[in-house]
């Protein structure tokens, strides 16, 4: 429940940001049309309620947001809510596959490094994590395109599916999966580095705990200690981190989607930048904030499930 005041604060901030921007929706529309008389613009302002005092406008805006009405995108000639829902699924697909890949491989690599502590294997994993942690996502994406789409024609450069082929059923799924490969790898690299480092640190911390000594004293094999005792406990902070990073993941998807023209929310945000479609950009911003709050709640619940010592309050 502590999420609600946060969302409310973001909505209010949204409203003031919209007002801070130079020119209002009517100016944008008039610019689009090429010419508009001042009288006509006044009339439009009255129609949209832009002539009322700021507090009234704020109340109006809040009421609309509660009813899931995020305004109108003049560029796309559609309700912002409708547009966002349309573009939400590709982003969700990209994010879920990224999280699975990043957490999966991150846990594996971290585990591998921790088991081979201070050997060359550990060093290789650490250097890999250090480098990917410092690489800009858009550059990785472009390099992937050069290597795997231009030099070798293995994967498509852009889009989510080959719409000209009219695939159906299983063929369509295969086609989308084929398009998904490069964006997913690109987006997951940064988080892979993060999870690898965390998993390694977390494993090492658990190895130092008393229960490991107890297990060793009982004669439990090292294998069993690692995979049954330590691994389970070491996973906890990684799960929390996966939740905390969702906000960053959304930011990363803006970059990756605009590199690969993946038709999701990030691409929509990129397009709205060029069209100066602020209503749309604010809507995407609001939705992604709400998503972060929701995911944090879910992570809290998962956390209690994994570690019964912690209670939800």
């Amino acid at each position: 429940m502590q999420g609600i005041p946060i969302i409310l604060a973001i909505v209010v901030m949204n409203f003031f940001l919209l007002n801070l921007a130079e020119g209002d929706a009517v100016d944008v529309l008039a610019g689009e049309a090429g010419s508009a008389t001042p009288e006509y613009m006044e009339e439009m302002r009255k129609k949209f309620g832009l002539d009322k005092p700021l507090t009234v406008q704020l109340a109006h805006y809040l009421k609309n947001v509660v009813q899931l009405d995020l305004g109108f995108s003049f560029r796309h000639d559609m309700q912002v809510t409708e547009l966002i829902v349309d573009r939400f699924w590709p982003t969700l697909l990209l994010m879920v596959s990224t999280i699975l890949l990043a957490v999966g491989f991150g846990v594996l690599l971290g585990l591998f490094a921790a088991v081979n502590l201070n050997t060359w294997k550990d060093a290789v994993v650490s250097v890999f994590a250090l480098i990917t942690y410092a690489t800009p996502l858009f550059w990785v994406g472009l390099m992937m395109i050069i290597l795997f789409s231009i030099k070798n024609d293995w994967f498509p450069t852009s889009g989510m599916e080959n719409s000209a082929a009219f695939y159906e059923g299983f063929d369509r799924i295969k086609d989308i999966a084929h398009h998904l490969v490069l964006p997913t790898i690109t987006l997951s690299l940064f988080y892979l580095a993060l999870y690898t480092r965390m998993m390694r640190a977390s494993m090492l911390e658990q190895y130092g705990q008393d229960y490991v000594i107890t297990a060793r004293a009982k004669g439990v094999s090292e294998r069993r200690i690692t995979f049954v005792h330590v691994l389970r406990n070491a996973l906890l902070p990684v799960v929390t981190m996966a939740g905390v990073q969702v906000g960053a993941l959304i930011g990363g998807s803006v970059i990756v989607e605009s590199v690969f023209a993946w038709p999701g929310l990030g691409m929509l945000a990129f397009e709205s930048l060029f069209a100066r479609d602020l209503n749309l950009l604010l809507g995407i911003f609001l939705l992604s904030s709400a998503l972060v709050v929701a995911v944090n709640l879910v992570v809290d619940v998962i956390y209690c499930f994994l570690d019964p010592r912690i209670e939800v309050n």
Binding site: P5, I6, A9, I10, M13, L17, L20, A21, E22, L130, I131, Y133, A134, T135, P136, L137, F138, W139, L142, M143, I145, I146, I150, R200, A201, L204, E205, V246, G247, A248, I250, G251, G252, V254, I255, S258, A269, F270, L273, F274, R276, L278, L281, L282, I284, F285, S288, S289, V292, V293, N296
Partner: protein, 277 residues
């Protein structure tokens, strides 16, 4: 100081980072000497490969020198990273210090605000801020500052919270020192090392965010930057790989170097934490 330096220099990675960072700073500072012309100046040789027509790293679609762009872009990246971080550390310090020192209602209010800013997806927020303020150096710095101060605030609050009841602070109260003097002259110097570490890592993040914004077309259109070269060369990816490749390597190396230095600082300033990882 000498003890700090000996601990820092024992860490080979950190020294390597420092050397690379020194090199980047050097290139940035002599950019005007080696490439005295405007980096936006176009030439008669578009799309020359690396080494062709006297372009060390090639030229772009209208014949601008990529190497000159990288040298001038280094100035932009370092400057934006440094200024945004300093501003963010300052704001975080004020928020964290007041919240931690006074506690109670002040703490509640300040931390609620911090929480809101921490929940917001930072990159999208930065995009939104720059889009609303119109792209310029100032708006990019403001946006990066606004999205990066909460981490500092949390850290500083924690430090102040744990230090404010220590004996030396109580002694200051007994001596009749004012709150501000205690905060600035007594508590702050004792929590400088984690602040320096987080600050150095924040410079690296700031450079990444700046390049991302410039890539999306939200950089200052009158100032050369690494992200701008890449976003501009994107459409030429098929025919001229070098335009996008080299500025990206510049970003990678710089950010990596700063991260290495930051971790070295962490090890040298907090020797107790060393054994843990």
């Amino acid at each position: 100081m000498r003890e700090f330096w000996s601990r820092f220099s024992r860490n080979r990675q950190a020294v390597l980072g420092l050397v690379i960072l020194g090199l980047v700073v050097f290139v940035a500072s002599i950019a005007n000497l080696i490439y005295p012309n405007d980096p936006f100046l176009y030439s008669r040789f578009p799309l020359s490969g690396p080494g062709e027509n006297g372009f060390l790293l090639g030229s772009d679609s209208i014949g601008r020198d990529v190497a000159a762009g990288i040298a001038h872009g280094a100035k932009t990246s370092l400057l934006i990273g440094l200024i945004a971080t300093l501003a963010a550390v300052f704001i975080g310090l004020v928020f964290g210090a007041f919240a931690g020192y006074y506690g109670g209602l002040v703490d509640d209010i300040l931390m609620r605000v911090t929480e809101v800013f921490q929940t917001i997806p930072s990159f999208i927020f930065a995009i939104l801020l720059v889009a609303i303020m119109k792209p310029s150096i100032e708006s990019v710095v403001i946006a990066i500052t606004v999205v990066s101060w909460p981490a500092v605030a949390r850290l500083v609050r924690g430090e102040f919270l744990s230090l404010k009841n220590r004996e030396f602070v109580q002694a200051c109260h007994t001596l009749g020192m004012g709150d501000f003097r205690i905060m600035l002259a007594e508590i702050l110097p004792n929590c400088l090392s984690p602040i320096i570490v987080i600050g150095s890592l924040m410079v690296a993040t700031a450079i990444l965010v700046e390049s991302g914004l410039a890539f999306l077309g939200l950089g200052d259109p009158n100032v050369m930057s690494w992200g701008f070269i890449i976003s501009d060369g994107r459409s030429m990816l098929r025919v001229a790989w070098w335009i996008c490749t080299f500025p990206g390597i510049a970003i990678l190396i710089t950010v990596l170097a700063i991260n290495l230095v930051g971790e070295g600082l962490n090890d040298a300033l907090n020797p107790r934490l060393r054994e843990r990882s």
